[in-house]
Symmetry: C2
């Protein structure tokens, strides 16, 4: 740890956001680079956050009737090619195994970029009757997609994720599943990560390779760029036909299943950094933070200070709080800066004088405020409730930022102006035509993020890009 | 599920053990085959067991100061080649990626067969001073080793495992770590899986590629063959020198670190099947069983039966028990056979007459005994304590089997005779010479499983294979 803090300063967020991001990734010891380009090492601090996300989401998945499985990491090229749109989307990004056990392989194997084809092959084999439906499987794994430009957590040649794959006897149930998972992603972002999401449906241009509909949750970073943070796809019967996933229905007829898939990845870690972080480092939402409170000792060599700190730690742990004591031989100033860089939500300062007076000082990372608090049997409750308060404050701040960065625009030039000057989302009217999307992308380097689901243009509204009658409300942004 | 049970019969264990094993893997819906040879699909029922093993062990790892990380799945061939013994051991089993993103790679990449080299590269980079030590990282992932002959869970081209990699400032601490992990594996097998292990040190011939010492835990299958179930390696400074892992010690001198690694895999699932299973299917140790108790309804269409079953389920769940209600429209006989095939430790039978009389019938999968038990507020405690009882009974039975299949032998011919007629372990004297091991392997197709750690030959004892003075007590067996 020590050597990373020789120079604690990081680049200012508003001066060079990209460099600020990289500085935090390194100085908070979230990741390191490996000798293979685009393949990062998830160090304990970021991996512990991913574990917290996993535990939270896995519980939700299981409560909603999903089961975990593990599928092979290698897919025969011939299998990947079975669904035309799908292979077109993924083939250019594949890592291909051509040798195994010293021999050349006849059918090369692709490291999974996603596992639709494997789940289809399995389901085609094990499902015969309506009694076997639905099947709702999920897996936690890593996938490989060969990327030219990579950034830690945001875009990598390998990343960790979960991928759910479900099949259903009817269309309605499959569509409900697609939306349910979108809702679970949205709720997780809100309740665990304190991140408000813009949600909606992707345009045909932006949807997943092979999907009929893709729903997305999109987070807004501090620099005004959007980050696609989770997607849920409805496939209809496209894969079912390509892979012959049929079942005998109650009416004694063979039918094709309806299918969904959905995933979130370690991109969420990037979202946490870029939504909440500041010029002193990470600011972690307390429910996902590996360490929720750090006890920093002032004059730890004084008799009784260390003992009191560990007694406090025990007390707080019994209240369900994740606590660390910083009993290193560094100065308090160094320890404060270290705790700030790592974004630990609550800092508890404890010195001999505090102990004498029966209190400690509690500082909140998210707004820097400090308060003197009595050390007694209510401290656990106090800190627990502070965790909720901090969570709410962080969510509220991010929500205000999001709300103030959605700008309704109805003229073409204004779209570019808002993106340049203010960033965030441009909300506008859309004809539903690809040409309109392409024109905006070309002119302003912005992509459509999603189509609003519950809001439609007023009578007579016009798409500002192609001047055709508007059918939808759509959101554009520059994005990661 | 239904279609797998049209014919419920499985091959008898004593008639054809290999076929019995495969039958169980399929009929208990533990796994399925994929279209890539040697790569299996872990279906929900086996994956849930693996999750239970993960949760149990991960807690132990964290309690003993280990942290989880995630390393890249791809290793440059050039990096793998840095430690000579290591690459010799693994190169023949590697899957090699030669194409990425449509381009040929200059330095081919190997899918990790194990990750020593990656951890070494990281540690060399992030460790400078004695203050940075120890580093105790672990990861849960899958690895790929190209195998010619594969069997579900026992030997596959891809398997799930955990691999711990630690570095230490001194030899003593590293050796203690090696033994601590061996102990954790041994305890997990005993306390979670009800499997007694034979533990000891591997001979030089059988140790891990690149290790100075390998400790092993070995389980004994019902057919008398051994299964290596977990290993813990002490590397000394071999990798440290190859990878230049140095640190500045307290005495201001640059020194090489001392290193360990250790792993267990989904082989443990194979051990569970082959230690405890019988001719009616799986017999699961209750602490690892995904479903600990199944409530089977008799005449479920009768009023109140279903409601009572779900009330019971809720009551048992509140006592921390994993319960399922089988409310399918199958016959009770079918449901009983199904629960037996899946090895569910406790079956609770519930019909209208039982409810009237305020009791239910509880059957134990491990010994087939049944008992009538009152349905009242003590039922949760009763079932919880029954779980412990079943665990103890299963462990005791397996321990008796192990103990009665360790045969002390002091003549060469007797070794073969015992292996042929009785199976299990032959315990004998060893000179410490490779030639002795090779002679036994050649003559009897048995490998040394481990050297006893706390027991030595008496004065004058002779190795029966090479007639040289004995230095060690050693165990041989035919093995998976």
């Amino acid at each position: 740890m020590a050597k990373n803090f020789k120079n604690n300063a990081i680049t200012s967020r508003d001066e060079d956001f990209a460099q600020w991001y990289t500085d935090i990734c390194k100085k908070a010891e979230l990741m390191d680079y490996s000798s293979v380009k685009g393949f990062i090492i998830y160090l304990p601090y970021s991996y512990a956050m991913w574990e917290n996300i996993q535990h939270y989401m896995d519980k939700k998945f299981k409560e909603t009737g999903h089961e975990n499985v593990y599928m092979p990491m290698l897919i025969p090229e011939s299998l990947l090619e079975k669904e035309k749109d799908h292979v077109e989307g993924f083939a250019p990004e594949c890592a291909v195994v051509t040798k195994g056990g010293m021999n050349e392989l006849e059918d090369p194997l692709v490291i999974r970029p996603t596992s639709e084809t494997l789940f289809c092959e399995l389901y085609a084999k094990i499902v015969n009757s309506y009694r076997d439906l639905p099947k709702k499987y999920n897996q936690w794994c890593s996938v490989v997609r060969w990327e030219k430009t990579t950034r830690p957590f945001l875009r990598g040649s390998e990343f960790l994720w979960q991928e759910g794959h479900t099949i259903h006897a009817d269309e309605k149930e499959a569509k409900e599943e697609t939306l349910l998972m979108r809702d679970i992603y949205n709720q997780t972002a809100k309740d665990l990560l304190a991140i408000p999401m813009l949600t909606g449906r992707k345009t045909d241009k932006e949807k997943f390779a092979g999907a009929e509909e893709t729903y997305t949750v999109e987070a807004l970073m501090h620099d005004g760029k959007a980050l696609q943070s989770g997607t849920s796809h409805y496939f209809g019967q496209g894969f079912a036909e390509a892979f012959n996933m049929q079942f005998l229905d109650k009416d004694n007829k063979q039918k094709y299943v309806y299918q969904t898939s959905w995933g979130v990845s370690t991109r969420l870690l990037g979202a946490i950094i870029m939504v909440h972080g500041d010029d002193n480092g990470l600011v972690l939402p307390p429910r996902v933070a590996p360490i929720q409170a750090v006890i920093v000792l002032i004059q730890s060599q004084k008799e009784g200070v260390l003992e009191k700190a560990y007694a406090l730690k025990k007390q707080l742990e019994e209240a369900g709080i994740r606590v660390k004591v910083d009993d290193s031989d560094k100065t308090p100033g160094y320890k404060f800066a270290d705790a700030e860089m790592r974004g630990i939500p609550i800092r508890i300062e404890l010195g001999p004088r505090d102990i004498e007076q029966g209190h400690c000082i509690i500082a909140k990372r998210n707004d820097g405020t400090k308060r003197t608090v009595s050390i007694d049997e209510t401290l656990g409750d106090y800190v627990s409730s502070l965790i909720d308060t901090i969570h709410e404050e962080m969510y509220r701040k991010a929500k205000d930022f999001l709300d103030s960065h959605i700008t309704m625009v109805t003229s073409f030039d204004e779209i570019g102006k808002v993106l340049d000057e203010k960033g965030g989302y441009v909300k506008t009217y859309w004809s539903g035509e690809l040409a309109s999307e392409l024109k905006i992308k070309e002119a302003f380097q912005a992509t459509s993020r999603c189509i609003a689901e519950d809001e439609y243009p007023p009578e007579g509204a016009i798409d500002p890009a192609d001047n055709k009658p508007a059918k939808y409300i759509i959101y554009y942004a520059r994005a990661y």
